[in-house]
């Protein structure tokens, strides 16, 4: 006989107890106290150690001292049973409370089902290959989506696309006028920052008045369009992806397809058109607000006069700058709409997947905006625009 006792702490003094007692052929696990999940149950480690030290022919339980129990006791017993089964040791269950025996039997009636065909772990080379093929497939997916959108545009111009004017108006309202407050704030701050940064440098040459030129040109050519696009990516692109993703979860997109109505015509096209129409307008607005922001800094904080500032701004700003900025903005509008709609349409069918689609729409849009900005800047430069 080698008695050993372990217990979990319990202030009430009715802590669950495990006492091990050996007879020549059996190991008896004596259980006592209150076995409840809440206060915690003892680790079965000591039982395993005892089994491993000298494997008994069989294991028996004695639960007469157990005051009360819940599934904590069942879990403890079932881990001991599994260990015993692995080591090929017979277990005598008759010493357990009836309820525990019934629960154990219940847990064992249904054998663990193999829910998936075993996926053999492939070599890293195969994994790299699969990943590369996946990437290629996703690139093809984007191209296919763009192709479908262009076809849908073709149908629209031939007057055959199924597009609801009321949907288009509502989406335009959402991504145009409703975005004005946030666009105002961002543009004002961008103008303000540009003016501050420029003023510090230009002051060294005594050329502070050129802050006006700098703000106007920078905002018109780059900042107004890009900041508006980034705001729209976070605001509207994510909304598009979430709307379309949710429609996918609700099988609304399937319902359109089975009705023979193209989801591209019906859902994607109005969103793209709305954003492409609204982006240049928002950009013009952002440009004006940026100039006001720059002017605010220059006039109120740097003490420049209003007259010369306005004059310089009007002198610096050419139609050329504005047009090239607006072209960029339109391109960004297409990109944001494509990213949002694409990610929404390829979203999975769960709440988590819709969240991922929205995130992915924003990331995709911002990456595409920056890449397009780079390409367009190089092209403008090469063409001398």
């Amino acid at each position: 006989m080698t008695p050993a006792s372990i217990s979990a702490p319990d202030a009430a003094g009715r802590a669950p107890r495990v006492t091990l007692a050996r007879t020549p052929d059996a190991l008896t696990v004596r259980l006592g106290g209150s076995w409840r999940l809440g206060p915690g149950i003892p680790s079965p480690e000591p039982v395993y150690r005892e089994i491993d030290a000298l494997p008994p022919a069989r294991i028996a339980f004695d639960a007469r001292q157990v005051a009360d129990w819940d599934s904590g006791l069942v879990a403890f017993i079932s881990t001991v049973l599994r260990q015993a089964a692995e080591r090929g040791i017979a277990v005598e269950r008759s010493g357990l409370p009836d309820g525990v025996q019934r629960l154990l039997a219940l847990a064992e009636t249904v054998p663990e089902r193999k829910t998936r065909e075993a996926e053999s772990r492939s070599s890293w080379l195969a994994r790299v290959g699969t990943r590369a093929l996946d990437t290629a497939a996703s690139a093809r997916e984007i191209l296919r989506f763009l192709g479908e959108v262009i076809q849908a545009l073709g149908r629209l111009f031939r007057g055959r696309a199924r597009l609801r004017a009321s949907d288009l108006a509502q989406i335009m309202q959402e991504c145009g006028p409703n975005a004005l407050p946030i666009v105002s704030l961002i543009s004002f701050l961008v103008g303000l920052i540009l003016a501050f940064m420029g003023a510090v440098q230009l002051q060294k040459f005594g050329a502070q008045i050129y802050v006006a030129d700098m703000v106007a040109i920078a905002a018109a050519r780059e900042m107004a369009g890009m900041m508006t696009a980034i705001v729209m990516a976070g605001r509207t692109g994510a909304a598009f992806a979430a709307q379309l993703g949710t429609m996918k979860v609700n099988e609304e997109i399937d319902a359109l397809t089975t009705m023979g109505i193209s989801p591209i015509d019906f859902l994607v096209l109005p969103r793209m058109i709305a954003l492409v129409l609204m982006m240049p307008l928002l950009t013009i607005y952002a440009l004006v607000v940026s100039i006001v922001g720059g002017g605010f800094v220059s006039i109120v904080l740097l003490g420049l006069d209003v007259g010369p500032y306005v004059q310089h701004t009007r002198h610096a700003l050419t139609m050329h700058d504005i047009a090239s900025g607006l072209f960029k903005a339109s391109v960004f509008g297409v990109l944001v709409a494509v990213a949002g709609c694409l990610r929404g349409m390829e979203s999975g069918r769960s709440a988590a997947a819709v969240g991922l689609a929205a995130t992915s729409a924003v990331v995709t849009a911002i990456v595409m905006i920056i890449v397009a900005e780079g390409i367009l800047t190089v092209v403008y430069n090469a063409l001398g625009i």
Binding site: R116, E117, R162, D167, M247, N250, E251, E252, D254, A255, L256, T257, T258, M259, G260, I261
Partner: protein, 259 residues
């Protein structure tokens, strides 16, 4: 191709295998749906019933096999040909799948406006009639979020019936409904079938529906991954020797009957 003198069945499933990647859900399924009958696709959860329905209604391509709609191939044809066949289907989705940005009337009116030459006033008229048929008269201007689940199902049914389809697919129409609503929906399906004469394919595991309205049934087995029984549900209950089918139809433990 019409074979002999008999007209081809409205729906023929020919050797269809459904797989997600390398995971085969069901393999080599073949059965016919006769004109005007209500066929029940039954089976335990996750056996691929809804996936089969998506293959039959043209949404998801099968890994192998084909579906013939009155003898015309649904999957060995181009997108346009498939689209033409799909216009003959009506489909009720599990949760109704009503377009959430539109009212009930607009939901039913949309397919009518798209595929008929009716005037807008006539479209409204017909759509209102369809809603009245499913007991939703007076709810025309409600949006899907303002009505109960059972009403959404009925509105979905009205939309599926909008164009008087030849073939009506219903994905678990009574799931999530109380017994009375579920019974009412079954009666509605029966009377719509009887009056409009369409062929109905229902995916369900509700026993009262299966026995109440099923003219014939196929049982998809999740383990053998194919059809393990077919026939009239009441006859299957009497005669089928497959213990799993028997257990399914009697709501008992599998293995209770001898295998």
């Amino acid at each position: 191709m019409p074979s002999g003198s008999s007209a081809p069945a409205p729906v023929e499933v020919r050797g269809v295998t459904i797989a997600y990647g390398s995971f085969v859900v069901q393999r080599d399924l073949s059965f016919d749906v006769k004109p005007g009958e209500i066929l029940v696709i039954m089976g335990g959860s996750g056996c691929g019933k809804s996936s089969l329905l998506r293959v039959m209604n043209g949404l998801v391509a099968p890994a192998a096999g084909d579906v013939l709609i009155t003898g015309k191939s649904l999957w060995q044809t181009d997108d346009e040909g498939r689209q033409r066949l799909m216009q003959r289907f009506g489909m009720l989705y599990q949760m109704g799948a009503l377009w959430s940005s539109m009212t009930l009337l607009e939901n039913v009116a949309l397919p009518l406006g798209e595929f008929t030459d009716l005037t807008p006033a006539q479209v409204r008229e017909v759509a209102a009639l369809k809603l009245a048929l499913v007991g939703l008269a007076g709810f025309e201007d409600f949006s899907p979020s303002e009505i109960s689940g059972g009403m959404r199902k009925r509105a979905g049914l009205a939309r599926a019936m909008a164009l008087d389809p030849d073939i009506l697919y219903l994905d678990e129409p009574s799931a999530g409904l109380d017994p009375v609503s579920s019974r009412l929906l079954d009666d509605l399906i029966l009377s719509l079938r009887d009056s409009l004469g369409c062929t109905v394919v229902i995916v369900t595991h509700e026993l009262p529906s299966i026995f109440g309205i099923g003219d014939s049934a196929v049982y998809l087995d999740a383990e053998t991954r194919t059809i393990s029984a077919r026939g009239n549900p009441k006859q299957l209950l009497e005669e089928c020797r497959d213990p799993k089918v028997h257990a399914f139809l009697t709501r008992s433990q599998p293995g209770a009957a001898p295998s």
